[in-house]
Symmetry: C2
Amino acid sequence: MLAKRKIAKILAMEEYFNPIVIEAIKPTLEAGLYPVKANQGQLLHFGARILKDGHEELAGAILYRKLGSENPWQELLLGEPDWNGNRVASLVLPNEITILEFAVLAWVDPVATCLRDRQKTSDAGLDASEYDLELASLHAQTLPLRRFLKRHERSFIIEIGAKLASFSAWYEFFPRSETSDPKTHGTFKTSVAGLERAARLGFDVVYLPPIHPIGLTKRKGKNNAISAKEGEPGSPWAIGSEAGGHKAIHQELGSEEDFRVFVSEAKRLGLAVALDFAIQCSPDHPYVSKKPHWFRYSVDGIIKTAENPPKKYEDIYPLNFHCEDWQALWNELKSIVLHWIGFGVTIFRVDNPHTKPFSFWQWLIAEVKREHPEVIFLAEAFTRPSIMQYLAKLGFDQSYTYFTWKNTKHELEEYLTELTKSEMKDYYRGNFFTNTPDILSEYLQEGGRAAFAIRLILAATLSPVYGLYAGYELAENQPVHAGSEEYLDSEKYQIKPRDWSQSTELTGLCQKLNSIRRAHSALQDMHNLEFCPTDNAELIAYRKQNLLCVINLDPHNAQSGSVSLPLSSLGLDLSSSYQLTDLLTGEKYTWHGDQNFVHLDPARQVAHLFSIDRQ
Amino acid sequence: MLAKRKIAKILAMEEYFNPIVIEAIKPTLEAGLYPVKANQGQLLHFGARILKDGHEELAGAILYRKLGSENPWQELLLGEPDWNGNRVASLVLPNEITILEFAVLAWVDPVATCLRDRQKTSDAGLDASEYDLELASLHAQTLPLRRFLKRHERSFIIEIGAKLASFSAWYEFFPRSETSDPKTHGTFKTSVAGLERAARLGFDVVYLPPIHPIGLTKRKGKNNAISAKEGEPGSPWAIGSEAGGHKAIHQELGSEEDFRVFVSEAKRLGLAVALDFAIQCSPDHPYVSKKPHWFRYSVDGIIKTAENPPKKYEDIYPLNFHCEDWQALWNELKSIVLHWIGFGVTIFRVDNPHTKPFSFWQWLIAEVKREHPEVIFLAEAFTRPSIMQYLAKLGFDQSYTYFTWKNTKHELEEYLTELTKSEMKDYYRGNFFTNTPDILSEYLQEGGRAAFAIRLILAATLSPVYGLYAGYELAENQPVHAGSEEYLDSEKYQIKPRDWSQSTELTGLCQKLNSIRRAHSALQDMHNLEFCPTDNAELIAYRKQNLLCVINLDPHNAQSGSVSLPLSSLGLDLSSSYQLTDLLTGEKYTWHGDQNFVHLDPARQVAHLFSIDRQ
């Protein structure tokens, strides 16, 4: 604050006494305005630059403790500086959900200064006895001597999240489709089969679209037809009917008790249940009649539908977050989240958070986490980078990404470099979905089963958090029409039973990948990603610790080329050979030097996922 | 502060009501901790990112006024956003030394939103009458309507400095050498010749080494000999003798009255006088006897000399800025600066500021500028980048740079890009000295007169602030020994008369460059620099508006090659020819297209400084 107050000319002379400067503190986000996110057990690297005039030996430390704790600060010494005065210190974070506060301390070390000067003087063959006297005088004082001790005026926050926030594989399915007959509505009871499938495939989280009563008014029909035919189930995102709103369960799915059993069955199978939190109302939602003042009205007194002019979405009424009764509305929305937490749900995938006020989310997430720090919020926003980033800054634990549309080597390298090396690494946890009920990418539509394998391997190995939407393992790839990313006969508007009896190459791949992810901590970290050059634009290669992934991005043709490995980073030397085991096939390879040849034919194998073994 | 306080869980619900986000505010330095520096009359670009959920039309403005003013804020509307919500606004800064404070305001514009939606709806051939109703309702309210008006919680500071801080050519000379005989000490009276020379060459500032009494004890002899012989004048940086200290004038230079006349003579010639502020004392300085407690002592009670073990500088005692009586010491040092301001001196070149406490400078500069905002402080620190940068952040108006050691095209392009495009552009004003009494670069030692011309043109055209140390125009290039950057027979330790009677190519070049700098505002701006590619590593080319400088960096050989010009930026098209005038020679050239051939032979001409004229 020195400089700022200096300008206002109100700083007392005493405040200039301390000569130490502390700057470039890491990790911080916008000078401490927002917390940094970290993971349980993560090796976190702190940094600070400590400067002072002259040549004295400086030292510094990170002070940290749990936020709000009355315990003494713990001290982590910063290491030796680089030429510019930058120092680092690393800390293994605790294996718990908590919030740490940290500050930076710096001081002059007169003993170290004296010892160094004595050494330099005697090394030069000169009389160093004056330093002996000085040392004696210093030792007569209390140790450790910290002269000009200074604490940086700001403190900074690190949120250590739930384990699943930083490492989890997600499986999205529609409970109503867990049936063998499109005319029979699946239920929470029949959906235990979906849980078992997800568990067998090795997933950690099952994510369900909204489970609430579906409106009848303006209900959409099959393939998003403007109106539903008799008996069509409608979209689960048109929430609310006479039977209830966001706290009710769609009666065809079962009872509250059935949902409780479903959640506990999931837990038994090692799965967490994620619900969709979509703040919007069908015209039949009880709020419309009971809380009409929570909606927006046209000048002519009609409730406003969702709109992005000239488009209008007549089956959905958005809430007016800034109505006069806003505090009651916000508290009601909070009570919805708490309601489902009461059923054992700890993860909320938030639908289109960018169409509701950011400050509402900031408030809601803080309020919920105050009592339930284990809860995870995933932001489903596909919009401008600045808005997706801001949602993550304000508190969302995870965020959807542009991964789905990054297909070429250049696009993938550029985007992953941003996620893992820019400031985003400190607050943005991307959840790499291969597909969603809204996104069947052109690459998947065109590329056949190989494309599905390629994108699955990319998602599961590039990011510790990834997911797929059911049907992916069956390589479903028919769009509603050419040029659309919507599925044909989208499950959003109809019940869609599938034949899950046969296992496919993709189910096997999925099982393997999830099993490998659990066995190899390298795949549980987002920031350890290093791309390796190849001489073929269709071959992408990247390394996470001792794992090397090489993928043929061309789903149609065999590709080959040379992969460059940074041998010294791997503790290998240029002259010796080393063995690699392909974790996907079990095959072993012997490589030599830093350039090795790879050939990948999508008809046989789209990728290697090597473990590199030192000899 | 939302996020920070959110974590501490003390934020009232009301504070979350406003849905607008303001971030990425520019220009700012470390979130407002330090002021940004700007120049009089500069076109300053402000920026801010304004975000909100949904699709409403947003708007924003920069609020600014003089710091401390009671006048209403002036409002500068931010322009249309880019895709990410970033907006800019530009302001021509006033032609005065002042401090501006600015803040950012943002709001929803419901009228613009309604007009846009009506347009989109009617463009789609749909009924837009509901928007007419809404507009009527909005117009019934008070205009301009600013919904959700939000002001960012921080305000930021911009210091508009003295004109010479951002645009000036400096000439350094030793008054004692303004004599025809090495045995006769030059005086302020004889130094009027130096002033006239500087004025004739077109300089704006004359900078003098310390003008105070020189100590006798441990006085250094010619070529830095460990002890001076009888009659040797010693180094002006060994300040203080029985005759006085930092407020006294070395009696061989003249009286206080002589100095007053010298300063007013300089003013008459359009020159500002810069003094050296070197905070150190010779063993004979009056402080040593009168203020012994201002120094440091060894354990055995002897005053500590300056040291960087194992080296000791026995002719110099550093002051102890943290002695018990520190406030009196700091105030005494401040009174020295005020003393010379009383003589009309407005520029202080601070000797080795990085060996004195940074917070002392922060205090001193603030204190002096409070009463004398026109004063300029130049930091003479050649050290680590972080420290040179920090001195500029804390308040130094100008800083020495690494320019002297940047010789190759790559080095120059990289360094100038840092100075003009990185955060440094907002606070670091580099003063490009071609040489100093301490720095005769290897390039100058080896390259002959062509090297001197090359470095002079680089300094004068790359940076609006540059300087040279007298003797440069005579191409003095003899080092004290091979491998040293010290001059042979350095003027630091002896009187050095020169024959100024003949004009040389370099004096002519210097005159021309200073005259061109005054005539062309393009050369008065640091940040408008754009490098132009050439196909020869020895040819560097850069553009400032319509001026194009092409220099052969090889002082020994003719070089030729092709220079690429961004024609569209210059308002030229590929197919037409255009004329260039070499401002150094007056010769005219006709170029065609974006690639043109240049040949520069150092025996004849080391550079072109073209003015590009549209046809």
